[in-house]
Symmetry: none
Subunit: 257 residues, 2 copies
């Protein structure tokens, strides 16, 4: 079940931190590491700091974009050091561990995303996460080492997993169609939906691409926390497709005038 | 109260770990570091890894024996990587955090003791501790980096401290407007939204009132569980209004044909 949970490091500068993160996740029984544009990898410094967790480094998936690292995931949690202007559903590390384990137990894929050593995740990257996770550090000196932050969140995942191990399985057998329908949409399906939604809002004149303000961020937040199923996604996409047809007809009409 | 809790590192080999531990304890609001026979200290490597927590290093107390490091303490917790032959009261990190905070709140002095990178604490040193603390790592790969172990225990101390202080573990400081926006929509606002949504879906030809099937029920389920805020409701209603305008234009066009 823990194999459904991946750790994603975005734009890591120091290979030592990649090694430290590999060691941290392996000590907690996790195994899957994704690296988005690491500055230096593979690296002997990473191997030294991994201190025996070299299999995690050898099997790490290196990709160019966060999007690629999230393929297949239906729950994405992004670590965030500070308040943001747009408030976002926020979890502490313990809640992050609980959510991750619950989701992974239901066969969903989970990503826990960590940003750059100095700059963290960009706002755009944070908007791809359904939840933000904040380690409640001292406001006077809030910045944990990257590998140390990975250790804390991986530890909380393990604590939840150990607690869940002792409990009866919650998953009842569902009917096949109901099961399919209840399957959560994956992050890449969600991204396609957001792109479709954005284009549709432009088509009907609700969204001005020159002045997008926070509209898409707000809608991402709303739909992100809803835990949309594949069936619901189909319905929402269908509505957008019909709306676009109508918008085309209306545009044709304006062209006629 | 946190100043009653000290972190003691015994026989540390790598100065980088001392720096990492200093940073870890400072991020969690702790400040007192004791070093028993460190192999290399002071050290520029430690300063580099402390990443701004140099005051912790500058104020660290260097001593020759564990006994000296424990002077004044009435609760001593020693980290232990493995089961020992002599059974000892064993805590997990969460219990360690709780005990430490309870004790420190009663003006007692607390020491959390960490052993050498490879060999841990000796049996004799462990016997000076009232409790042993074990971070529940994977039995196949159990050895955390020293600074990472300090981070986990310091994190649990902080979580207990925040709970005891009655402070939120999450920062949820929202601005006033953000707070208003985050107010949930009321049930009657939701009903108005569903009515508006249904009419719009009819207008664009997505919903056939003669054969509604389960469409509205499914959409109610989706939006119902999202906990929509007043701001989000305004956005969703705005999208519907624009969609209806476009649908009217398109219908006019069809009327023209």
């Amino acid at each position: 079940m823990l194999q459904n949970i991946r750790v994603v490091l975005v734009g890591t500068s120091h290979p030592g931190n990649i090694g430290g993160a590999a060691r941290a996740i392996k000590t907690m029984g996790l195994s899957r590491l994704y690296l988005v544009q690491p500055e230096e990898f593979p690296s002997s410094v990473a191997v030294a700091r991994a201190s025996g967790a070299t299999d995690i480094l050898d099997n790490a998936t290196v990709v160019e974009t966060l999007e690629e690292a999230l393929v297949g995931c239906s729950l994405v949690l992004g670590t965030s050091a500070r308040d943001r202007r747009i408030p976002w559903p926020l979890l502490d590390p313990r809640e992050c561990g609980q959510r991750s384990v619950e989701h992974a137990a239901g066969e969903g894929e989970v990503a826990i995303v960590f940003g750059r050593e100095y700059a963290g995740l960009t706002n755009e990257e944070l908007q791809r996460c359904q939840f933000h996770v904040h380690i409640p550090s001292d406001p006077q000196f809030g910045s944990l080492n990257l590998a140390a932050a990975v250790q804390v969140l991986a530890y909380e995942v393990r604590m939840s997993w150990l607690a869940a191990e002792g409990m009866p399985r919650k998953m009842e057998k569902l009917e096949t169609t109901a099961m399919l329908n209840a399957q959560p949409a994956t992050m890449d399906e969600l991204e396609l939906y957001y792109a479709h939604l954005e284009q549709t809002l432009i088509d009907i004149g609700f969204l001005d691409p020159q002045k997008p303000r926070h509209l898409m961020a707000r809608l991402r937040k709303l739909y992100g926390r809803s835990g949309i199923s594949k069936l619901e996604m189909n319905i929402l996409r269908g509505i957008l497709t019909e709306t676009q047809k109508v918008a085309r007809d209306a545009a044709d009409k304006r062209g006629d005038d």
